[in-house]
Symmetry: C2
Subunit: 290 residues, 2 copies
């Protein structure tokens, strides 16, 4: 018999939609809520139940997952009017899989804790293909026993599930992930620019570079998109910019300088200023090309 833990799922965008679908496929009852209709209709067609508010989703669930855009969205659906907190009861768990700052996460977790609920921060990496193929890397912060209770859910959504430490630790690790991803992306952008301007076939370059000590997910996955001029968003420039700002705020709070992260932050800000905020992060090559 499949696990009958009832899962609320709030936020059915590029990432949330395939994730909720994977929970349904695994046999979980899934109760969905989304700001706009198309996400809800896609999931109810697959067998999900529609809720009329985040509170309603939480009332019908044992675990409520949120996968939304930024910290104001998380605060709204969690602490706002008709938010999850209004359904607070002992044992109810809120799992926030969005990427927000560790400080905001800890503040929300403290409010939910006062209301008698549990909260885990569980941001993910692996992009849209990782969400579709249930191959995400999931980095979790919170209480370890709550994490263990939710582990089967995480293992349904991802391939690598890492408990990182107390509340906010998942978000810290996710910011580290974004720091690495942005610099790896800049690396591919500069290499393609150098290769092309030197008259050498950049596809040969990606093949060779992707097989040695400079191999990365970004070389293999974003490199070909850059060459194909395919700038559709898997992960948007404006979201990358937001995450890098969180990373730099966190670094600054810890009195640490991250010169490479500052450079990528300026680069994604410049792209956003050029009106490219909704493109995929592979648009970084347009910054290098000038």
């Amino acid at each position: 018999m499949p696990d009958q833990t009832r899962i609320g799922f709030i936020g059915l965008g590029i990432m949330g939609r395939p994730m909720a679908r994977n929970l349904l496929k695994a046999g979980y009852p899934v109760i969905v809520w989304n700001r706009s209709r198309p996400g809800i209709e896609a999931l109810t067609a697959d067998g999900a139940t529609e809720a009329v508010s985040p509170r309603d989703a939480a009332e019908q669930s044992d675990v409520v997952v949120t996968m939304v855009g930024d910290h104001t969205d998380v605060e709204q659906v969690t602490l706002g009017k008709d938010g999850i907190i209004e359904a607070a009861r002992l044992g109810l768990v809120h799992v926030d899989m969005s990427t927000i700052s560790p400080d905001v996460t800890r503040r929300i977790a403290a409010e939910l804790d006062e209301a008698g609920m549990e909260m885990l921060d569980a941001p993910v990496s692996g992009g849209e293909p990782g969400a579709i193929n249930a191959a995400l890397s999931i980095m979790v912060g919170g209480k370890e026993d709550v994490f263990e209770r939710c582990r089967p859910i995480f293992e349904t959504l991802g391939k690598t599930v890492v408990f990182c430490g107390p509340s906010g630790s998942g978000q810290v690790v996710k910011l580290c992930n974004q720091v690495v991803g942005a610099l790896n992306n800049l690396a591919v952008s500069e290499a393609i620019t150098l290769c092309t301007s030197s008259g050498v076939d950049p596809r040969k370059m990606l093949e060779a570079v992707g097989a040695g000590a400079a191999a990365s997910w970004m070389v293999t996955n974003l490199g070909p998109k850059m060459l194909d001029q395919d700038f559709r968003a898997g992960f948007k420039v404006e979201h990358q910019l937001k995450d890098l700002r969180y990373a730099l705020e966190t670094a600054s709070g810890a009195d640490v300088n991250l010169p490479g992260t500052e450079l990528t932050q300026r680069a994604f800000a410049a792209l956003t200023d050029r009106g490219l905020g909704a493109e995929g992060t592979q648009a970084l090559i347009k910054f290098v090309r000038g």
Copy 2:
């Protein structure tokens, strides 16, 4: 019967030694020369023949490989007194697997061509483990028919062999590889610094980050060395610095700006100024920490 192509091998350092050993293991007759004794003694103990000069190695070989430090070393063993060019004869091939600038490569190739010889540039990536395990990525420039003749040798040394185009193309691709590797390394250095300063276990971070969209060879291979404070050289800071200078010269010649590469070049220069040029490139974390 094993391939009886006689291979001269010049330069028996961290990379050259295991590469020459893999050629011996595959059954090739190998004739070695090195600037210092320990490399020669290690290889003759394994069955290689000792030559008294690069010229002597070339005279006894069909293909002469060089794997040396920088372009002055390549010029010395190729065009200098008792150099390979003094053994020039039709059909003799010089394969330079060192990393030097594309311009210098093309100049050496032109001189060898005038002397009736062939030359391929075939720099590698994959570091010491790649050399030991014959898992290198090899990027080759030169004439395609000469490349095809030498392919079995490359396939003995590496797992990925990519023909990149005319003379110098292998070096262009290798510079791209170095650009990517240096930025991926900076990415890991900044992520570990951010994670540690935020009070989260960086080993958890490497595990999670290494499994998602920020995965890279550098996260998996250099990250743990940084945490273990193991700064022994697989690839030296001073060699990385040299390669980044070649990359920036090549970019500048093509009127291209590479801001990330400029940053990593300054970082490795700062480490060299601090007397850390002989450490492994994972010492980059010392630059970020300050």
